[in-house]
Symmetry: C2
């Protein structure tokens, strides 16, 4: 059943550019030749078997301006075999989700030999990225023409090319037609409707679709909290029972929405195939390094790195470092409070205009210091996590997010409004200006179809790069913090969060579609460590809410003589709420029943198939043995 590629791989006429590769301006010819050779040569010869073309302008010529830009595409069969190698999961004709294999391609829904719609463009680009990243050094000791760029067997070529500055960037192209369609159904018309998550997933991949799905779900789920919060704000109740009810509702609601999200998420990712996809069996992320060896699980040759070493790095270096940083940031905060107290006392003693300006100085200094510290910490966290050498991209992300989240205590204080302006409007404005400049440049060429591609590549290569969903999730996380941690003090928090998120959806969508380079799709089955972060926050919120209610004057007035009783009652209520929370989280299954059944069915079928396979192997061995013995006898 082995498919011989070269025989099928002839129809190069239909070259669709999918990914752009930008080299540095001064790359030597020999390097270019070698790179091209490695990219287009066959898998058997250690190549990626992709299509590789220089970007040509209208006159089909390379000019000085575009001689460092290359287009990468792939034949249909390369893409399908790539999908098989990466374990992409697709729906079959019998409505089950199964790992795609080239041999069984006709079993899959919507597959047609004459049609290219089976894989989404995002999937094709992800496959090409994967093929490029897994081009690994064989016997080369260095990159031809660059003796200082050392290679060793198994090292990812693309990674070395990027770190030595030979390749500037690799990015997927937008598909203007599909993008237009997506925009129309997504955010251009201001009507209240659900986002087209399946379309977003088709265009941007699962990770980004999951973010938008979570943003929408979270916003809708906050509405009841916002509605209940309103009367608490409008009519200031003196009755503490109602406060307790409000806080209890918020706590239970926040537990329930997080649990229900898990179920909805499983539903969605089952449909998308990523829930069933076994990413741990994939090849390691390109940043992963180690001694070449045989993976004991998949029996494939790949770099290996002992897990105890990673554990040592995490627990002996990263963890103490994070604790130290946390201590340091608390120390800085203390200094800030001291400074503010000092400024206040100075102002009170000599209330001149000059000292009233001085009142703002500590806050400004603190904000600047925090911002600098945050940036430094982010770099350090990235360095440490990369040094920990995680095999899977998801493990890398989770460890990075965990590290950065602990510096949150300080972030919670600095406002998020500034962030939002910085992240979306400013780059859009800059982009617009740049856009006009490029258009003016290109207009001389009088765009026809080929020139449009040229224009598009030149335009997109200057766009900003999307740095992942971290900041977007962080924003939602901070929001959740305001809503849940201080729900009874600030009952309007949920309402503001809902209002903010309605515009956030649109600004994020605009950012993704028009402002930034198209990101590579990244399959994912859930929102990863963010689920844990949100759940931890909702546990902490039980403590803060109970403490706040206990400290409120209304409640204190009810226990005029005995503070002791008050505290004991508050602690008892808090423990009861915590217990209720854990029981709720335990009682709500993480996956809906029909998904559980389908996963069990898949597991059962695989185990049965394994049994049959071994039985066949066994029978074959016996046959061969008997044949050999009969030969000997003869």
């Amino acid at each position: 059943m082995k498919v011989t590629l070269p025989a099928l791989d002839t129809c190069e006429s239909s070259f669709t550019p999918l990914v752009v590769l930008e080299l540095a301006q001064d790359v030597k010819k020999e390097t270019k030749e070698w790179l091209k050779n490695r990219i287009v040569s066959k898998k058997e010869d250690g190549g990626a078997q992709l299509l590789f073309r220089p970007l040509l302008n209208k006159y089909e010529k390379e000019t000085l301006e575009n001689e460092n830009l290359y287009l990468v595409g792939a034949s249909k069969i390369t893409l399908l075999l790539g999908a098989e190698a990466m374990g992409l999961v697709k729906e079959c004709n019998d409505n089950t989700m199964r790992a795609f294999t080239y041999g069984t391609r006709h079993n899959f829904k919507d597959y047609d030999d004459d049609n290219d719609d089976f894989l989404t463009m995002a999937e094709c680009q992800f496959i090409i990225k994967h093929e490029l990243e897994n081009l690994r050094a064989r016997d080369e000791k260095m990159i031809p023409g660059y003796p200082q760029a050392k290679l060793y067997p198994g090292k990812s070529l693309l990674r070395r090319l990027l770190t030595s500055g030979i390749v500037i960037q690799v990015f997927p192209l937008h598909d203007n037609e599909a993008l237009k369609k997506l925009e129309d159904s997504w955010y251009t018309r201001f009507t209240l409707k659900y986002q087209p998550l399946d379309c977003i997933r088709g265009y941007f991949g699962e990770t980004i679709a999951l973010y938008f799905g979570f943003l929408e779900y979270f916003t809708v789920a906050l509405i009841p909290m916002a509605v209940i919060g309103l009367p608490y704000y409008l009519f200031v109740w003196e009755d503490y029972d109602k406060y307790v009810i409000f806080a209890s509702f918020n706590l239970i609601w926040s537990t329930v929405i997080l649990e229900v999200w898990k179920r909805g998420c499983a539903n969605m990712t089952y449909r998308w195939g990523t829930l069933v996809m076994k990413r741990q069996f994939e090849e390691p992320r390109p940043g992963f390094h180690g001694v070449l060896g045989i993976n004991p699980i998949t029996s494939r040759e790949e770099p290996l790195y002992p897990s105890y070493k990673r554990q040592l790095r995490i627990y002996l270096v990263s963890l103490p470092f994070v604790c130290l940083c946390l201590y340091f940031s608390l120390y800085v905060m203390m200094i800030y409070f001291d400074m503010e107290a000092w400024a206040l006392s100075l102002h009170e003693n000599s209330g001149s205009e000059w000292t009233s300006v001085l009142l703002y100085v500590p806050s400004i200094i603190y904000a600047i210091v925090i911002e600098i510290m945050n940036r430094l910490y982010r770099y350090a966290a990235e360095f440490l996590t990369s040094w920990e050498n995680h095999r899977l991209e998801s493990a890398y992300q989770n460890h990075l997010i965990l590290k950065v989240l602990v510096s949150l205590a300080t972030l919670l204080i600095t406002s998020q409004i500034l962030n939002q302006i910085m992240e979306s409007l400013l780059p859009y404005w800059l982009q617009k200006k740049h856009h006009v400049r490029v258009r003016r440049k290109v207009q001389a060429l009088k765009a026809d179809i080929d020139a449009t591609l040229y224009e598009q590549v030149v335009l997109e290569k200057e766009m900003g790069t999307y740095l992942g969903t971290f900041d977007d999730y962080l924003e939602l996380f901070l929001q959740f913090g305001y809503v849940s941690l201080f729900s009874c003090v600030y009952p309007l928090a949920a309402a503001f969060a809902v209002l903010n998120n309605f515009t956030e959806v649109n600004s994020d969508a605009l950012k993704m579609c028009r402002v930034l380079k198209r990101p590579f799709a990244e399959p994912s089955a859930n929102i990863g460590v963010w689920q844990l972060a949100f759940e931890t926050m909702s546990v902490i919120s039980v403590v803060t809410n109970c403490a706040l209610i206990g400290m409120s004057p209304q409640v204190n007035a009810l226990f005029p003589e005995s503070k002791l009783d008050l505290i004991l009652i508050v602690v008892a209520v808090e423990h009861a709420l915590l217990a209720l929370k854990f029981i709720l989280a335990f009682a709500i299954p993480d996956k809906p029943r029909h998904i559980q059944m389908k996963l069990a069915r898949l597991e059962f079928e695989s185990l049965e198939a394994l049994k049959h396979q071994q039985m066949k192997l066994m029978a074959q061995n016996l046959k061969e043995e008997s044949q050999e013995s009969s030969k000997k006898e003869a």
Copy 2:
């Protein structure tokens, strides 16, 4: 590769009796004939294909005394096919654990066509039990000769026979030789050594071996707590720091030992094959009922029962009932306190001898009432859990244990010493008396080898039945409660628990080997819901310990003026400890890394096998299609 049984199933000469089936004295001949027919007839005809013999005395005759006793055995091939059907997991020659299949039997370690050692006796007996329980009604409307014992298609025959009193009991026979060996290595010699868990597992099955493994592990793990507790008891410290250190150590230690047990347990059950065994794919437990249909996961015909109905029964009936019982037991406790206060005041007012006797009356009444209530509650819990209609034995057990555990609050008060006497020494004494009686009866026959079997069966059928590990685990659970809940008040608890458990191992072993009927083996991969129960207890213990330390006079003396500060500090420490506990539980992986790797390897291989299977199917279909079309053309 289908094996035709009858061809291989001729060597009945080597009949090994494994299981005894006792009928009622007055069972009609026609029923006996029908039952025998169903048990021995072939699988294709809906039988169990087992061997079935009446028990004969020395003169090879049936007498009135033994005409209702039957021996059940099985040919080797029936046992091997049964092991395959149940998904027993065994070690292969390449040291991996794989589900046993008859076709690949030569791949497995220690397998030999001429040797019967491959399956342990416990496994053989479990297979026979499984075959008997899965004898299901086909077109019979009732049990022949008993019109009142109704049957419907799919109903387990054995279950109906037991409930209508036609079959009195089914039990596996002891193997005196193996038992002697087991005893010698287990408990007869009083030396300090680890228990032979693998031998126990071979003789009694995984569930019981896991109990003894847990008992041993738990005892050894308590030793540090006992050692640290001793000085606290001997030198009464006035220093509250040391109390806090002791309590903190206990809390962290109890978390760590529970997590480490999970890892050790996974190690053990991987070696035994039950960790890999997929019990959810098995046929349902015989007590499960429902409409005959196709299981969507395994595609086998079996009774189906919608899960939402089960959920409704659990949440609308069982849960309210349990809450009501809990409320009622608390109410009874309050009455007891009132009675005691009343008796005390009566005694103080008129201190006669008569009233000093009266002081004990409330306790006695309370103990009796609690005992009665407990028994009633146990019955109710069993009835409700059985009515909830769980598909898997493990689910049934877990729900039953959960229900019974909530009545624990009352049990914790009544002592466990009485229990221990009741459970082990009393039946042993009764048994000894009975033993003598039977021996006297049998001596007349002058035992030779055949008479020994006869003697053995007659003796064992009168032995008590082992009712499962529930009471044994409950005892350990209560112990853990004393040690962890009140560690700082009663620092000797751990030491006493250790001492008690050293004798407990021996008394339990004696009970299993000599006092009770041999139980059927039951494969299990972990200690089930008990793990959750122990973990919950250790969380609760954080609260009680902090409260006890906070209330101790030494600590109170440190905060002479402000109780408020004291409580706030205690609550803060408690929260920190709880957080530490959860982080610890989260950071320690539940399975050791090498087990994780092996499980991942198995999953990977199964998924690959599934892909190959589908590819083969696909190729076959294409071939057939092309053949058909060429035929048509011709």
